[in-house]
Subunit: 153 residues, 2 copies
DNA sequence: CTCATGTACGTGCATATGCACGTTCTTTGA
DNA sequence: TCAAAGAACGTGCATATGCACGTACATGAG
């Protein structure tokens, strides 16, 4: 078997080992473990850090909008928020439209996020350096494109 | 702000929106939903399909080895296997070394995997086409590199 | 042979994930 | 104004994920 044949088989669409879903999940699992370890001293889980980061960047948001920003099911977010609300890092408030739950970052939440930021930067830098900045940058673009395409389909 | 500055900020290591972990998880979530939908008529979940595919490719394996191949925590796999064993798609057998649980694909499991394969190919093709084959191929390489790097660290 | 060491595993706990279904509230068309 | 349509949400169910901890078994040094 030639080199090109081997490569084309490895990357054939129909090679189950090349399953986009399985490989994405593998990467998500192992990378999450690195981030969890790095964030461990902050008391925040990786997903919680992401929620706080999104609220910091986007400001208060209704639950559904926050879920959309996080590419997360609405009902999953409902439950993910409970530990954060329990710790007083966010509040869940009603609006004039009583159907809407507005998710609000508290001062404590903002402080916790800022305190966690250096730990996040450390592990993020390590991952980026591991791939090399240029390659990582393209990788991130591919992730965004994949998300956009899978969402629109 | 110039174009290059905007780009460098977007891909700055310290831009929380560029969090490798969060973006990997987002992509894994939305892509998983596509595969779940495609596999729905087969009665297999995406993770279950992956287990069957791995057993098909690698043959029977002890639990820990299978977990390693799947980049999955051993204890998670223990539980993920239960529905598969319940449906008779795999068996969990003892060895001479009584500590070892050998995971074995049954004939029924093999059949279920083969029946699911066309459904998998359909959604896989769609995802690949969405990115373009060349870009997808590089994306897959990046995923593999990320997994390898995060595992070794 | 025996005990210390190491290996393979399961379970309790906590969080993560999404679908189906039902509830409450708002908006809109007649 | 009022009923139908639609929007925002919560909960039950099932699976997914990994850590801490404990158990059973195998192996090797003495």
């Amino acid at each position: 078997m030639s080199q090109s044949e081997r490569k084309s088989e490895r990357h054939a669409t129909t090679n189950v080992a090349a399953c986009t879903c399985a490989n994405l999940r593998k990467a998500a699992r192992v990378v999450t473990q690195r981030y969890e370890a790095a964030l461990q001293p902050t008391g925040l889980k990786a997903t919680q850090f992401t929620v706080l980061a999104t609220l910091t960047k986007r400001g208060d948001l209704p639950l559904t909008h926050l879920a959309d920003a996080l590419v997360l099911d609405r009902t999953t977010l409902t439950r993910n928020l409970k530990p954060l609300a329990g710790q007083g890092l966010i509040t869940i408030e009603n609006e004039r439209d009583q159907r809407v739950r507005r998710i609000k970052l508290t001062a404590k939440g903002s402080k916790a996020f800022k305190a966690a930021l250096p730990h996040w930067e450390k592990v993020q830098s390590k991952i980026v350096a591991g791939l090399g900045h240029k390659r990582w940058s393209g990788f991130l673009d591919d992730l965004a494109a994949t998300i956009a395409e899978a969402r629109s389909t």
